[in-house]
């Protein structure tokens, strides 16, 4: 395999590429080497370490050119013996949305046109938890918390049985060994079937080229996480894969001023998340759908 210059697969790819180029669909931009390489880039899980290094180098150069910031793209794999779980204390959440904006900054999300938020905080009238049709997504009071309401932040629930992964027609999204559901932004074809399949609105789409102020760029990124996305691909919360795989908390956990957000390793019996599951009355969203989220809501008070 290794000493072959071209595999049959490469040849077919080159042929299909030239056909496409010939048809003018790609326009003149495809003639340059970088675009060609990107077009022919393989699925992340099929890349060799060398290929990954080459892709990372190419992307780091491009991002530096585009944003004027030095990027460090990690491809760190899942650690053995980790399965990430999240806890959210509904008694404590005051609906301030600090987590939302910390997330946007950490994850290099598009700020406007489109505004991409991976966390959505719902305001619910007290006495009503399951019927989300009465939830308010765009509450905007002078002060939070408001009398008579509770707040429920929702983001990707990192299901053990994720419907989004099941429906993707090209396997561009998958569940990592540590339970994180990730997307290869360079493999996604932008069909948005996963968005239709997700019961939690955990997936958002980059309807246009993301717009990020240069001075707010976060250069510490993971390939499957917060590296700048391109237009017309789907993205989602990854529990800050770039942080949690190097021993830090997700940005939303750090940003929360009330200690609503808990995070830890479900396989570690000493972890806080395990303590919460064993000692609090936890529930998960839409349990009737059998998606088995690793995102536990609970009431501490």
């Amino acid at each position: 395999m290794a000493d072959k210059l071209y595999t049959r697969r490469d040849v077919v790819k080159v042929i299909s590429f030239s056909l496409l180029a010939g048809s003018g669909l790609l326009g003149s931009s495809c003639v340059n080497k970088e675009a060609t390489e990107e077009f022919l880039q393989r699925h992340y899980l099929e890349m060799t370490e060398d290929e990954k290094k080459r892709v990372v180098k190419r992307l780091e150069e491009r991002y530096r050119k585009d944003y004027g910031v030095k990027f460090n793209i990690s491809t760190e794999a899942a650690k053995k013996g980790t399965l990430w779980g999240y806890g959210l204390d509904l008694s404590r959440c005051i609906g301030c949305r600090r987590c939302v904006y910390a997330c946007v900054r950490e994850n290099n999300n598009s700020r406007h046109d489109p505004q991409v938020h991976l966390i959505r905080v719902l305001r619910l009238k007290k006495g009503n938890l399951i019927n989300l049709e009465h939830s308010e997504h765009y509450y905007n009071p002078e002060h939070v918390p408001e009398e008579g309401f509770i707040y429920m932040p929702v983001q990707c629930q990192h299901c053990e049985n994720p419907p989004c992964v099941k429906v993707c027609p090209v396997k561009a999204t998958w569940k990592e060994p540590d339970g994180l559901v990730v997307v290869d932004y360079n493999w996604c074809i932008g069909c948005r079937y996963c968005m239709a399949a997700c019961p939690y609105k955990g997936r958002v789409f980059n309807w246009a080229e993301p717009k990020i102020p240069k001075e707010e760029i976060n250069g510490e990124v993971h390939y499957l996480g917060n590296r700048p996305r391109m237009k017309n691909v789907v993205e989602k919360c990854t529990f800050c894969i770039q942080r949690v795989r190097s021993g830090r908390y997700p940005a939303c956990v750090e940003a929360c001023p009330t200690g609503t957000r808990k995070f830890g390793n479900l396989l570690d019996q000493e972890s806080e998340i395990r303590y919460l599951i064993e000692n609090k009355r936890v529930f998960r969203l839409k349990e009737d759908l059998n998606t088995e989220p690793k995102f536990y809501y609970f009431f501490s008070l």
Partner: protein, 425 residues
């Protein structure tokens, strides 16, 4: 080379026509070009130029796609009654029906392509070259069955036509099984397309087992309604004799299909409204509106009345057997079903979204222009198919060595020369 000669002569056939033909083609090309211009802009700017958003992530493109898959399926399913009731001329009906199915299929596939965010990565969908997620993703199933169906519906008529061109009888033992196979395939493409939505528990509006049967019933209304119109057009511009009786019989079949369609719809409405659960919201949005969000309400009620009116007109012999009322009923059906299983089916699935938010989607100019452009492309392809197929099935366009012979009546008695053999009998 023989194939090259055939190709050249076909090209001449396509390029020559009456002024009306040129105007028609030019019109279609113009509409398609406008759509193309909007599409290039969409590719450059991103899908943000449409009105689709995270809440309603599929819109007019996918609505049209769903409708056209039904049309493509029904065009071939029509082969069954054609055989059972001995519609004449059977070979023409098979060829035209399959070419119409192929054109609809091209439109449907193009619409999905228009909807793709990263069209240049379409090769990720190609089995073995890309990474097609077969069998877990229903979209992967759809890619396979839709393309398979398209291949079948091009291969069968082209085979029959080429044989006719050489004044040879098609090899029935070879082609009849393929024609028969295209019938379950027709059911298959529409079922798979229904399952595509059906398999999403996140969307209770689609997650109803009645979906695939409803899809087939409504396809059996809209598809044949379009075919009735097209048969009349073909009859008017060519010398193919399609009897009124065949049209009336098809109309009668639409009456049954429409009855079934309305019945299944009623069953679904009963279940949803009587159980009155948390999952009532999408269908409430569709038929009654939620608060100020009532965009689909006038549409779905128009669709309901159009469908009921069409049902009655197809049912009553007096209106069914008059060309004018027949055509009005067909038009009602085409529009009524388009609303019902296009926007009236796709959009409520997203409204309200899984977290209860209502985003009222109304397609914008870009989406209309691109969708219309694809319809124009499909009609153009079908027109060109017909331009070649009709002279061949009529025996006017044949290999040159037969042309001389047809001039001499004495030779045309030869058994192998008669090109209009009845297939399947």
């Amino acid at each position: 080379m023989e194939a090259w000669r055939f190709f050249k002569r076909t090209l001449v056939l396509v390029l020559k026509g009456r002024p009306a033909y040129y105007i028609w083609c030019f019109l279609l090309i113009a509409v398609f070009s406008i759509g193309l211009k909007f599409y290039f802009n969409q590719v450059n700017e991103g899908l943000i130029v449409t009105n689709m958003r995270d809440q309603v992530s599929w819109g007019l493109y996918i609505a049209n796609f769903t409708y056209l898959v039904g049309v493509a399926a029904a065009a071939v399913l029509l082969v069954i009654p054609a055989y059972i009731y001995h519609f004449e001329p059977i070979k023409e009906i098979v060829v035209l029906g399959e070419l119409f199915a192929a054109s609809s299929m091209i439109m449907a596939l193009m619409l999905v392509f228009m909807d793709l965010g990263r069209p240049e990565r379409f090769w990720h969908l190609i089995p073995f070259i890309g990474k097609l997620a077969f069998p877990q993703s229903l979209l992967a199933w759809d890619v396979l069955v839709l393309n398979g169906y398209l291949f079948l519906n091009i291969f069968i008529p082209v085979y029959i036509l080429v044989k006719s061109y050489y004044r040879q009888e098609p090899n029935k033992r070879f082609i009849i099984p393929l024609i028969l196979f295209s019938i379950p395939m027709a059911v298959g493409i529409h079922t798979v397309t229904a399952f595509l939505y059906n398999g999403l528990p996140a969307r209770p509006f689609w997650n109803a087992s009645i979906l695939a049967p409803r899809f087939l019933a409504s396809a059996f209304c809209s598809g044949p309604a379009i075919i009735i119109i097209i048969f009349q057009a073909i009859r008017a511009i060519s010398n193919i004799k399609i009897k009124d009786e065949a049209l009336f019989k098809i109309a009668e079949l639409i009456a049954y299909a429409m009855f079934l369609n309305l019945f299944l719809m009623g069953a679904e409405i009963f279940k949803e409204f009587y159980s009155d659960t948390i999952h009532l919201a999408p269908i409430t949005y569709l038929y009654k509106g939620i608060g100020d969000h009532r965009a689909l309400v006038p549409w779905i009620w128009s669709s309901f009345f159009l469908n009921v009116a069409a049902f009655l007109m197809f049912l009553l012999p007096a209106t069914r057997r008059r060309i004018i009322t027949l055509n009005i009923a067909c038009l009602f059906t085409i529009v009524g079903i388009w609303i019902e299983k296009g926007i009236g089916f796709v959009l409520p699935g997203f409204t309200p979204d899984p977290l209860g938010e209502i985003y009222e989607y109304i397609p914008n100019l870009t989406e209309f222009a691109i969708s219309l452009g694809i319809w124009a492309l499909g009609l153009l392809i079908f027109t060109l198919f017909m331009k070649v197929a009709i002279p061949i099935v009529r025996g006017d366009f044949v290999h040159s060595r037969h042309e001389k012979k047809t001039l001499q009546p004495s030779l045309s008695k030869n058994a192998g020369i008669e090109g209009k053999g009845n297939l399947g009998e």
